[in-house]
Symmetry: C2
Subunit: 216 residues, 2 copies
Amino acid sequence: MTTTEPTPGRAATRPDGARSRARILDAAEQLLAERGYAGTGISAISRASGLPASSIYWFFQNKQDLTAAVIERSAEAWLDDLGKADLEGQPGSPLARLFGFAMDKSGATLPVFGRLAILLALELGDRDPDTLERLRKLRRRGNELVGDALEGALADLGPDLAARFGKELAPLATAFAEGGLLVAQFDDGVDPNRLGEDIEVALRAIALHRAQQETR
Amino acid sequence: MTTTEPTPGRAATRPDGARSRARILDAAEQLLAERGYAGTGISAISRASGLPASSIYWFFQNKQDLTAAVIERSAEAWLDDLGKADLEGQPGSPLARLFGFAMDKSGATLPVFGRLAILLALELGDRDPDTLERLRKLRRRGNELVGDALEGALADLGPDLAARFGKELAPLATAFAEGGLLVAQFDDGVDPNRLGEDIEVALRAIALHRAQQETR
DNA sequence: ATGCTAATGTAGTGATCACTACAGAGCGCC
DNA sequence: GGCGCTCTGTAGTGATCACTACATTAGCAT
C-alpha cells in the first residue's frame, strides 16, 4: 500500500532524455518551492519546462512520484553544500560558515530544500505520511552535518560537552536557522546577515545553561 | 486595483446567520491551516461547515475575501491570548508564560494563526501582496506584545538595555519560537516543552553579546 | 398575517485539474 | 538503410475548480 509502482516511471537513457528529465525537475522544484503542492499544476510544470505533459508522465509515474524525485534531488544538493562547508578551511567559526552555505546564493533566503521541506510538511502533513517520512529522513542527515559543525563551535566547552551538545542541539540549531530565515523573508526586524552569529551565541548559551542545570 | 468590492459580501444580520458565518470561518480556518490556500476547495469548506456554497458566497465575496476574514479572526484570537498572558500574574518568567499561551492548547504545536501565517506567506508569497501585507501588519502587533514580555525577561540587564533589546529582539524571539514549534511537529530532537526556556536563555545571551560588541 | 429580505437549496457555468491513449518523430544500433 | 525504442505532440478523459443564476425557505417587523 505504501510502495508505489504501477507504471514504473522510466529513467532517461538517451542524453536529450536526461536533459529533458532535468528540465522537468528544475521547473517542478522551482514551482513546488514557490507555490506548494496543490498550487503547482502539471500544466504549469509543462509550460515552465517547455515539455509536454506526456513527457512528464514518461519520466514520472504521477505527480507524487515527481514530487518525491524533486525532494530527493534538492536534498542531495543541500547536503552536498553542507558537507563542503563543513570541510573547507574558510574563515569564521564552523557554524557561521555553515550558515553562509546554507543560505541561498541569491541572497538571504532559505535554501530551496528548506523551503520545500517546510512548505510540503505543512501543506501535506499527516495526509501524506510517505512524503513526510522521506523529509524526516533527509533532514536527519542534514542535522548530522550541522551537529558536526556545532560540535566544533562548542569546542571551548570541552570535548565531552561539545560532542554531546553538538548532537543534542543540532535540530534546535536548524530550527532556529529555518525560523529566522523564514521570518526574515516577510518580516523586517530579523536581520538574516546576523543570524549565523546570533544562533551561535544562542546555542552556546543554551548548552551552558543545560550543563549547569544538571550539575546542580 | 488593490481594493476589492464587486459584490460587497454581506455581514450577518440574523442570529442564525451569524452562527452560519462563524461555522464557515471555523471550517475554513481549520482547512486553510491544514492544507493551505490552493489545497482548500470551496466545496470542502462547504462540506466541513455543513452549509452550501451559496451561503459561503452570501457572506463572502470570493475565496480571497474569505481567507482574509479567516486571517483577521484567527489573529484576533492570537493577539487576545498574547495580551492575557502578558498581564496575568502567573508563575514563571514573562517569556515562558507567553510561550505557554502561544502554544496551542491541544499540545505543543504552533497556534493556528502562526501556522496560517507561515503557510500562506510561503505559498502565496509575492503573488498576493495584499495578503502578505495583512499578515505583516498583524505579526507586527504580535511582536509588540512579545517585545513587552521580552523586556520583562531582560530586566536584569538594566532598564535601558531591557527596553531596547526587548523591542529589537522581539521578531527574532518569535522567529525562534515559530521555527522551533514548526520543526518539532515533524522532527524529533526538538523538545517543544523546553523551547520557552531555551529561547529565553538564547535571547538573553544574544542581547548581552550585542551590548558587549558595541561598548568595545 | 403579510410583506420583506436574509439565508439556503439546486443546478449549472466554463476553466482547469491529474492523467491517458495513441500516433508520430527522431535517435541509436546493426 | 532500415529496425526498434525512446521520447514528444495532439487530443481527449472524467473530476473538480471557483463562482453564478435563480427559485425557495424561513425569520423578523409591522
